[in-house]
């Protein structure tokens, strides 16, 4: 499923990476420990994290996730948005919590 389809279907806000919304989401990974994410997230995952600091853009770039999803209407810092734009990283925002995002992704067939 394309990031664009997923974002539109659930009314998600695009914080950064408008021009990368054609990335394919092939799985979902939820974790807030950045080293753990680097060790276990897969290319093409939608990575859900409550972190909004600059380093999420670096970790997303290294792990080649399809997008970062920030749950529960958490505000993303302007510096993070700038860095994500520079690195071609998609950051989405939603009022859903992490569990709800996983459920929606599963219902859409992601990872099946």
């Amino acid at each position: 499923m394309k990031v664009l389809e997923f974002a539109e279907k659930f009314g998600m806000k695009v914080w950064a990476g408008e021009n990368k919304l054609q990335n394919d989401i092939t799985g979902v990974y939820v974790c807030d420990l950045l080293s753990w994410v680097m060790s276990h997230a897969s290319k093409g995952d939608a990575w859900i994290t409550v972190h909004t600091n600059l380093n999420i853009a670096a970790v997303a770039l290294l792990t080649e996730v399809a997008c970062v999803i920030v749950p529960e209407n958490i505000n993303v810092e302007p510096e993070t948005i700038t860095r994500a734009e520079n690195e071609g990283i998609v950051i989405l925002g939603t009022d859903l919590n992490s569990y709800e995002i996983c459920c929606r992704a599963y219902e859409c067939g992601v990872g099946k």
């Binding site: 420990l33 080293s35 060790s39 972190h51 600059l54 380093n55 670096a58 770039l61 290294l62």
Partner: protein, 142 residues
């Protein structure tokens, strides 16, 4: 410049999470441009990023020296920080001495050195308490 090898050098600023990871991002882009296998690029970039972040968190920054050869990438991250008193302990997953403000940012889970070991084909840690640490990561490209 050593013959047959591309060398890159970066400063790693102290306590500067704004620029932390820029060196590894830059090396990743360079390796991609050189047509290196994507899995090798990922191994290199992740192990280097962990070393870079460690230098930022624990050692008031440092310097990165990268050599890209036809058959391998060698990354040296040097710092003049406090050194690692017990390397064996530091290599254990979950062991950390990172301060709370760093952990609040998502780092300091005690995964840095284990991740370097996991992704590097060869990892050498040369450390002396009170003097600093040099981490040498080698990833073979063939």
């Amino acid at each position: 410049m050593t013959e047959g090898c591309l060398e890159l050098n970066y400063d790693i600023p102290a306590n500067d999470f704004l620029h932390a990871g820029e060196a590894s991002s830059s090396v990743k882009k360079m390796l991609n441009q050189l047509g290196v296998d994507p899995d090798k690029v990922k191994k290199t970039a992740i192990s280097m990023y962990e070393a870079e972040i460690n230098a930022v968190i624990h050692a008031d920054g440092g310097a990165a020296h990268i050599e890209i050869w036809k058959d391998k990438v060698v990354i040296k991250i040097c710092d003049k920080g406090p050194g690692i008193p017990n390397v064996e302990l530091a290599m254990q997953e979950g062991y950390t001495t990172a301060p709370d403000h760093v952990r609040d940012m998502g780092f300091g889970a005690g995964m840095g050195l284990p991740n370097m070991k996991r992704y590097a084909d060869s990892l050498d840690i040369d450390t002396a308490v009170g003097k600093g640490t040099t981490v040498t990561i080698t990833v073979f490209l063939k």
